[in-house]
Symmetry: D2
Subunit: 404 residues, 4 copies
């Protein structure tokens, strides 16, 4: 019996060419697996293509809801934002895709998992670390690090050599990754950071800020323990909330990012991201936390959210550290319950009020009016002890000349 | 000879009422000092008022440029942003004001410094820690923590009792603090976080996003070693750059914040901040750093910027830790030199290209094209060792059932 | 009915004098509560004394096992050590004592809790923060911050004035705190950090290193999920393990600390601590973790252990942040299971072997011998990508003169 | 003209065999460089050996003092200790060695640098990152990752094949690295963490604790701005202080470590380290800092010392981040001046008094006696505000049943 290779298949040219190449080089059968994490795709035609090109079997696995509930929301709860900007749309999707691949590989008793990520990016690391963590006995094949194919033209030539002449749509000049949470764009004129992005050509989900409506729109989001549960008073599943927010946010030009980021593999790269719904969610969640988290917890969480984001970016979802940080995060979210109103208008998210039954902001505590909780007379003692180290240091070290 | 008290004087009702109160309670003469950090104020009329109310002497000290160069720019270099949002406009100004007060107190051989901050806010701490650090022999008087005056009406009554009937302009319902960097608004309907801010009533410097022009505007900022030196190709002083950016940014509705923050003294408070120029500066600086800082430095600096912001917020400018963190920051800025283009449009700052002679992003490194610096074949070894701990842990701990 | 005050009572002079003072000043009845956390004390005679002096009721509550299981072991799991030295013996005990006081206050419907901590130390903060967190409706009385009594002589005089002439044993010149985990010593000649401690006078539990036996002794500790469960193959309760380790460790001069620490209230203080059993436990646990924790987790935990220790030191046991950090810690301990052998000899703990079924150190991985897990050829790729940022920075920034 | 290769040469078998191998494989001449960082070595006989085996040129460069002053002391100032235990003796030496190699390579216009580190350790990374940072145009050759030689026997056979029959002393079963700061031991029976180290066979510099004298010895160390300048009242150079401390410390059994550490390349390894002088220095410095650093600075430095240690361990000496952290550290050391007395006795360092003209511990501040600096009455206000968040959270969230 031939060895089996499970291939992370997308239906595009880059992963299609892998099928015959694997069969040529490994004396194996290739099981093409497309994991649905919300990308817009005609999975039926992907299946047909897979078989035509030589796959022995095809799976389309829907992991959209799992992606949202078990990867996006835990990241939301920890406030994971890479380098203070990138919402990790691709990075969060890789582990759920990898998990699906490993499940099928185990079911099919496949010896290998193959992926179509290049040797310069983060995704190869994310796929492979996932496999190592979930089943280290499965071997990994990364054709783009092995073969000599270097361009679209060479890919087509390779397929034609194998007698395969499928119509692959003229690829965009941008390299893209799409799922329910975001769509990213890299390459072409974006490669030079000094180039202003040509948003009219780039954007797929979102209006440019200029093209967004002249009239703003209010939305209301409700969270329970850090998880969004209602949009505009309607109870929705996680993926429904994101989908609806994508539409509304996209209309109003929300969530377009242009950034130079530090890849794991030692280089900087520049990308444009559209994350309309996610941007709104992360913003609303952060504002609600301002009401509900005490200062110590909020400040520590802000530090740990950076560490969390680096783990996710670097493909370390299935690690003890990620789980430990999530356990930390879960406790912090105990009282992050309440609602946030936001006005969306031409790229702006304008906070329009926030409330929570567990708000630690109490009007009476912070105003001038006398109350039983805060006694202004306490401030003197507080300042004296809080500032005591400065005073001691100054007294001991400074040659004070005054009043002599 | 009577004791002297140096009073941080603003010309407003809250600090005016302190003058007779001090004279009543301390058998002293009161030296009124107004420190100019860029607030819009008629210092001549403030002087007249001070003398009318009973000050024995008056100083108006211009610290605007010092404020910008020695407080704002070091904070910019460290990326200090409190709780991921507040640009520290008031917090950065307090130490330079305190320094001016101490200088005059030492020159005048004054025994006391008095300030008009209330017993519920952060500013009392910032003033007093500054005095303790700069000259611990000077005693501090904080009338608002001592007396029983509780309202504007009682203040006016107190003055009238002393025979003083000056026309104090009807105060806004909001409590404000202004300097060249920002203007803050607290109180009144903002006290309830669930209230949407009534921006038409609140904003002083900035158009609402809706009222901003329908046509965007490009600006170009140039930095040398982390310090802004040119705006639109014109070499300007620090305060000139901020003033110009305030005007342009204010026009386009940039830099309006609405936030609930954790005060040092244990409560949450809500404020609206306008920081048009500062918001642009911090944004541009951060984007330039994405090009110029290596990943390790960038990530560590992101962590330390939080610690830095907490120090500044908490009034610890004149401390060893603040100086040590600034020394860290200065080295990181060695190559943060270059230019950033931004399109301002209805509240949005849209990055329109960034370049630096020290950019660590090199087009050739990150593209598909073969090069001598990045070898895709290295990725396999990298991933294998980077992922080795996951693999070992998985091998050792997991009962792997597969392939048996 | 008179108000009730629950007093944290020790039986010593300092808390005894509080009883008549409270009755004099508050028109109340005083309920004396002594909480047993393992200090050596004749609780019967403490009870007699309490009633003689005027207490209306007396409780002796044994919290020793709860102290160990719910305060010491969670701190052990998080590796909480304050300022890299102090094992938090007093700090961990304060919350469990406070919890007992609040429980009785609630049961007795007492209006106040009173404690005998001075106004210069950490303990006042720990007691009062605990009360605020557990029941903010209970008011706190801290006589030592209120009255004018300043010395032992004045205390005795005050009691005599009230007609109370009890024999209080001549107090040691050192101020001490004792529980099952440690005994601390402060004051007297220790106040000057330049004085060498006179250990022969100070030590209560531990031999000086010089007096320890000339022959070492091996012990074996076994942990399950970070918790010690067996000593020398005998299954014991937490308090039994600590008690036995105290004896063995004390014999061999283990766990004597002399340190200057930063108090919460702004001063430095110097103390000597004896923690024989705890020192062994923390050491053994850390060594086991070296085998069982992966690097990422270990390094992050090392950072968080500092934050944890500061929380505990500062009296913030009953906070969301403490609970969140413990949740983090609990996940990390999942596989911290195994045994540690240590030779105790004249103050030294000499590691004598460590093993775990979950050890991530595998002999075959780290030796020269070829294996399937580590491939030396991977190292080149790893180094090239790991060092790529340095190379890029060097190429771009340095004027390289060589080879031209 | 042939290409030149600069080889990091030790005189041992492992680097000797590289000389003919390089000449065989690269058509080059080999320049053997031994860098003296304080290892005990007969450099004359190393030179003879190098020429006999086929080196075209030989350099012995003394970098001992530079190593101490520019690598060890900056690490001391930052308190860099890897994984809370390892004093980085090898890791600190690699960059100074690499710098010497690069200097000679540049002077000799060599195309390559070769080293004898294996493919499983940290040193390959440290050497190669140093070269990349200092001169990225120089290529690196790591024979141990390339060839098939696997054992001492194969090395000797290879040399004999080339007609070289030099007497290499029977190697110890342990793999060792020695410089002025430490000597490390790995391999053989240490490979199993459950084995107790056979210290009588292992130790080279240090008495076992049991064999140390029965009488202790006092030493006094004096520091200026964090740098040790005097030992027992004698002004000495850095290397003299370390050498003398090695002798005294070695006599008393100080500084023997046995640890399992996390290597950079993904594995755990176990080693025994002897660092008698360094252990005393780091201890004394830390104790002096307890007197001289304020709490905020001390706590932040404790966090950053971990990051610093990781950088050094991972070979990132010549990076912006390392320099930035050192700049931080330098400011913190401004007042770390004073003297520390320690009694050395059978493996123990017993603090015997510490003083500094800049001590922030003042007897009068921390005692019961009334003073002008600390006012016990301030404590109530401090605690009330410090504990306010706990009280608010408790009031708002807890259903308080009491007193109703």
């Amino acid at each position: 019996m031939k060895d089996k290779i499970v291939l992370a298949y997308s239906g595009g040219l880059d992963t299609s060419v892998i099928i015959p190449w694997l069969k040529d080089n490994y004396d194996c059968e290739v099981i093409a697996v497309v994991v649905n994490v919300g990308q817009k795709e005609d999975f039926k035609s992907v299946e047909e293509k897979a078989y035509l090109i030589g796959a022995s079997k095809f799976y389309a696995i829907d992991k959209t809801e799992e992606f949202v509930e078990e990867y996006v929301f835990p990241t939301l709860k920890m406030g994971g934002v890479y380098e203070n900007k990138y919402l990790l749309g691709t990075a969060m999707a890789r582990p759920v895709i990898t998990k699906a691949l490993v499940e099928i590989a185990q079911k099919e008793k496949a010896k290998y998992i193959a992926h179509g990520a290049t040797g310069k990016g983060n995704d190869q690391v994310r796929f492979e670390l996932g496999v190592k963590a979930l089943d280290p006995t499965i071997e990994i094949i990364a054709p783009w690090r092995i073969w000599d194919i270097k361009s679209r033209e060479e890919e087509i030539a390779y397929l034609e050599e194998k007698g395969i002449t499928l119509p692959f749509p003229k690829k965009s000049p941008y390299s893209r990754d799409e799922n329910i949470f975001h769509i990213s764009h890299e390459g072409f004129d974006l490669e030079l950071p000094e180039n202003e992005p040509n948003y009219d050509n780039i954007l797929q989900w979102t209006n440019t800020v200029e093209n967004a409506p002249d009239k703003g729109e209010y939305i209301k989001l409700e969270f329970i323990k850090g998880i969004p549960v209602k949009l505009n008073d309607e109870t929705l599943s996680g993926s429904e909330i994101i989908s609806k927010l994508n539409k509304i946010g996209g209309l109003h030009g929300i969530g377009i990012l242009d950034m130079v980021e530090n890849r794991l593999v030692g280089m900087k790269s520049r990308g444009v991201y559209e994350t309309p719904g996610g941007t709104i969610l992360f913003y609303a969640h952060e504002e609600l936390e301002r009401l509900c988290l005490d200062k110590d917890t909020a400040h520590m969480k802000q530090l740990l959210s950076q560490e969390f984001s680096k783990l996710i970016y670097n493909g370390k979802w299935f690690t003890t550290l990620r789980k430990s940080l999530s356990a930390f995060g879960d406790i912090t979210q105990e009282y992050v319950t309440g609602e946030v109103k936001i006005k969306l208008y031409k790229g702006n998210m304008i906070l329009a009020g926030c409330k929570s039954p567990y708000s630690l902001h109490s009007e009476s505590f912070s105003t001038f009016e006398g109350d039983n909780v805060y006694n202004q007379k306490d401030a003197e003692g507080f300042i004296n002890l809080f500032g005591l180290p400065l005073k001691i240091e100054s007294l001991l070290k400074r040659p004070v000349k005054l009043h002599e």
